[in-house]
Symmetry: C2
Subunit: 395 residues, 2 copies
C-alpha cells in the first residue's frame, strides 16, 4: 500500500530541443528494463566489451582505449585532467566559450599552470594563435580544446592544432561532449590523445555516463607520473583496468546506464555513422532556413556552424525566458537559454540524436510563429515552416 506523502512521478513527454538531455530512443528505455546483475559477472562482461568496441567505432579509433566513465559528461574532462596533470605542469587551453572556461578551471584545480589562448565567442580559434603560444614554452604537458562549443554553436577544427600539440610534445585533449555521435570525431586520424563525451546528447541515452578514448601515449603519461593523482574515483588507469581484458574491480559501475548505452550505440550503428551525420546536417540547415525566414539571426560563424546547436539572437524587446516558458508549458518543447556572456541574449536550439527530426523542427518553428507576435515581435505568418519544409524537400 502506498503510504508516503510524496506524489507519484508524473512527468510529461516533451520534445527536447535543448542542449541536452535529448529524447531517448524507445529501444534504450526498453534496455533499461534489463534486470540488474553484478558488475563482475560473466553474463555482464560482454556488455562492457561491447560498449568499448562500439565506442571505438564511433570514435574512429583502433589505437585508443575506449570506455564509459561512471559519471556525467563534465566528469570526463576532469578525469583526463586529474589523471595527467601534476602540480606545475603547463597546460595550454583554447578559450572561446563557456565550456572552454570549465576545462580551464578543471585544469587549474590540479595545480597546473594554465595558459589560455583567447578567442572570440561564436567563432573558431585561429590555429596561428595556438602556435604562437606554444612556441613560448619549453615544455607543455597538454593542449586542451573544445570540439563543439555548446555555449556558442561553433564547431572547432582540430587536426591542425593536434599536429601542433604533437610537434611541441604535448598531449591533445578534446571535449567532444556535443559533437560525438552527431558529427565526425576521428580520433586516430586527428591524433587525439584524450577525448570525452556524454551519454545524453547525440548518443540519445539518459545522462550518467562519460564515454572517453585514451591514447596509449596518454595512458603511459598517466602511469608514469611522479605524484599520485588527486582523484581515486576518476583515475583513468584504475578505471582502464576494469574496462581492460582482466576486468579488475575498481568501483561498482552503473549497470542500468550501461545497458542503456549499449543499446544506444546499437541504434547508432544500425543507422550508420554517415547517414546519421547527414541527418544532423540536413535538419540543422532546415532549421536555420526557417529561423532566418522569420527574421531571426543565427549568431555562430557561418563557416563553422554546429549541426547540433543553433544559437539564435533574441530580438530586441522580447522576453527570452517567457518565450522558453511558453514553449515548455504550451507546446511541451524545451530549448535552452544562453550561458555566460550570452546569457539573456540568445536561445540555443538543439537538434541532437533522436530529437533531430524534420517533424520536431517544423513543430518548433510553428510554435515560434504563434508565440513571437504575442511577445511583440511580428513574423511573416507561415514563413518559417514554409522555408524549412522547402529546405527539407530540396535536400
Amino acid at each position: 500500500m502506498v503510504q508516503n506523502s510524496y506524489p507519484e512521478l508524473n512527468i510529461p513527454a516533451r520534445v527536447l530541443l535543448s542542449t541536452g538531455p535529448v529524447n531517448v530512443h524507445p529501444r534504450v528505455y526498453k534496455a533499461m528494463q534489463t534486470p540488474v546483475v553484478g558488475y563482475g559477472e560473466a553474463v555482464f562482461i560482454p556488455i562492457i566489451d561491447g560498449i568499448a568496441a562500439m565506442l571505438a567505432e564511433v570514435f574512429q579509433t583502433k589505437e585508443s582505449l575506449t570506455m564509459a566513465l561512471s559519471a556525467t559528461g563534465s566528469a570526463g574532462i576532469e578525469a583526463g585532467m586529474a589523471s595527467v596533470l601534476e602540480p606545475g605542469d603547463v597546460a595550454v587551453i583554447g578559450n572561446y566559450g563557456f565550456f572552454c572556461e570549465r576545462m580551464i578551471e578543471m585544469a587549474r584545480r590540479q595545480g597546473a599552470e594554465v595558459i589560455t589562448v583567447d578567442g572570440e565567442w561564436a567563432k573558431p580559434l585561429d590555429p596561428a594563435a595556438m602556435e604562437a603560444e606554444l612556441k613560448k614554452h619549453k615544455s607543455v604537458k597538454l593542449v586542451g580544446m573544445v570540439h563543439a562549443e555548446t555555449s556558442t554553436g561553433v564547431s572547432q577544427p582540430l587536426a591542425e592544432i593536434s599536429r601542433m600539440a604533437k610537434e611541441h610534445g604535448a598531449l591533445m585533449f578534446v571535449d567532444a561532449v556535443t559533437s560525438f555521435g552527431g558529427s565526425e570525431v576521428a580520433v586516430d586520424e586527428w591524433g587525439i590523445d584524450y577525448i570525452s563525451s556524454a551519454s545524453q546528447k547525440c548518443l540519445s541515452c539518459p545522462p550518467g555516463l562519460a564515454p572517453v578514448a585514451v591514447s596509449q601515449n596518454a595512458l603511459e603519461t598517466m602511469n608514469n607520473r611522479s605524484t599520485s593523482p588527486s582523484t581515486w574515483y576518476l583515475n583513468i588507469p584504475q578505471i582502464a583496468d576494469y574496462w581492460g581484458k582482466d576486468h579488475v574491480y575498481h568501483h561498482t559501475v552503473p549497470i542500468s546506464s550501461l545497458y542503456a548505452l549499449y543499446e544506444g550505440l546499437r541504434v547508432i550503428l544500425d543507422e550508420g555513422l554517415g547517414p546519421r551525420y547527414e541527418r544532423h546536417q540536413r535538419n540543422a540547415a532546415a532549421l536555420r532556413a526557417g529561423l532566418e525566414a522569420l527574421g531571426l539571426s543565427v549568431i555562430s560563424d557561418e563557416n563553422h556552424r554546429l549541426a547540433q546547436i543553433t544559437p539564435v539572437a533574441v530580438p530586441e524587446g522580447v522576453d527570452e525566458a517567457r518565450v522558453r516558458a511558453r514553449l515548455a508549458n504550451d507546446y511541451l518543447i524545451e530549448i535552452s537559454r544562453g550561458l555566460g556572456q550570452f546569457a539573456g541574449k540568445i536561445w540555443r536550439v538543439g537538434l541532437m540524436g533522436e530529437a533531430s527530426t524534420g517533424a520536431n523542427l517544423l513543430l518548433l518553428l510553428s510554435a515560434l510563429e504563434e508565440i513571437l507576435p504575442k511577445e511583440g515581435y511580428e513574423v511573416p505568418a507561415g514563413a518559417g515552416v514554409a522555408a524549412a519544409s522547402k529546405a527539407l524537400a530540396g535536400s
Copy 2:
C-alpha cells in the same frame, strides 16, 4: 532494421545475494520509463526536492543538507574528502577493513596527513584507540569511519567516536554505503558531519548515485578553505547550489537514475523504516541459523554483526570460486567473494533491500545443500533450510 553485429541484450534475472548491486523493485524499473526532461525545468525540480526531503527522513536529519551525487557510492566518500581536506590537514581514519583502506587512500590523494587507527578485520574498532590517537594531535580536520564494513560484515558503533571527534574540533565523516536504508543511520543524533551511501544496496535502485548528508558545519568548512579543491565535478558546495532552493546549474544530472531513486525512496517510506530494519535483522538471523546448521562459520564479531552482509568461512578444501560459479550458473544466485586479506577465505552473502526475503535465503541454503557435497563437503541434508525456516517462523 537491426544491422549492427552486436547481440541484443539478453541477461537473465538473478537473485542478487551479493554485496551489491541487489534486486531492484518493479516500481523502480517502471519509474525509469518516465520520459527524460531537462534538469532545470519546472517539471523536474520537484523530483530533486522530493529526493532531498526523503533522504533527510532516511538519514534522520533535520540539520543537514541532503542530496544525491551524480556518481556511484565510492564517489560520495571522495567528494567529501576532496571538498574538506587541504594539503597538510590531519585526518584520523579507522582502519578495520577493505573500505576503510579505500577511504584512507582517498584522503591521502588530497595531500592530507592521514593517520590510521588500526583495528582487526571482522571486529569493531575500540573507541579508546581512537581517543588515544586524537589526544596526540593539536588539530584534526576530520575523523573518518566506515559504519558498515562490507568486506567483513561488521557494524561499527559511531556515537561515541563522533562525540570524541567533536571534542577535538574535528568533523565526523562516515561511509554508510552498506548500512543506509537497511539499518538505522541517525545523522543528527549521532552528530555526523558528512555521510555518504550508494543507490544500489539497501535502497535497491540501480547503481549510479551517491546519497549524502552534509552538516552546516561541514559546509562552512568547505566554503572557508584557503586553497581551491582538487575537484570541480565532486565539489560539494557547488553541487549544493543545485540541490538548494535556487537550483543553480552545475552539471547535467542523471535524470533517469534520479527518477529511480525518487521511486525507491517512496518504496522505503511505504514499508516504514522500523519494519524495514526489522525485516533485514530477521532474515539475517534466519540465514545465520541455516548456515550454522550446515556447519558453516560466520566470521564477524557476534555482537556487531551486520544484517546486510554475512561473511562465511569457506570450508577447508572447498573451491570457493567454483561454488560461486555453480550458484550463478545453475541456480541464478549471485553471492560475493572475499576482498583483501579475506580473498579466497570467505564468501559474503548479502541480504539487502528487495533481496532480503525469506524465500531468497531458503533458496540459497537449499542450493548450498546440493552444491557443497559435490565439492567434497558433506552437510546434513535439509538441516540448513529447516533451521532457517524455524527461525523465520519463530520470529
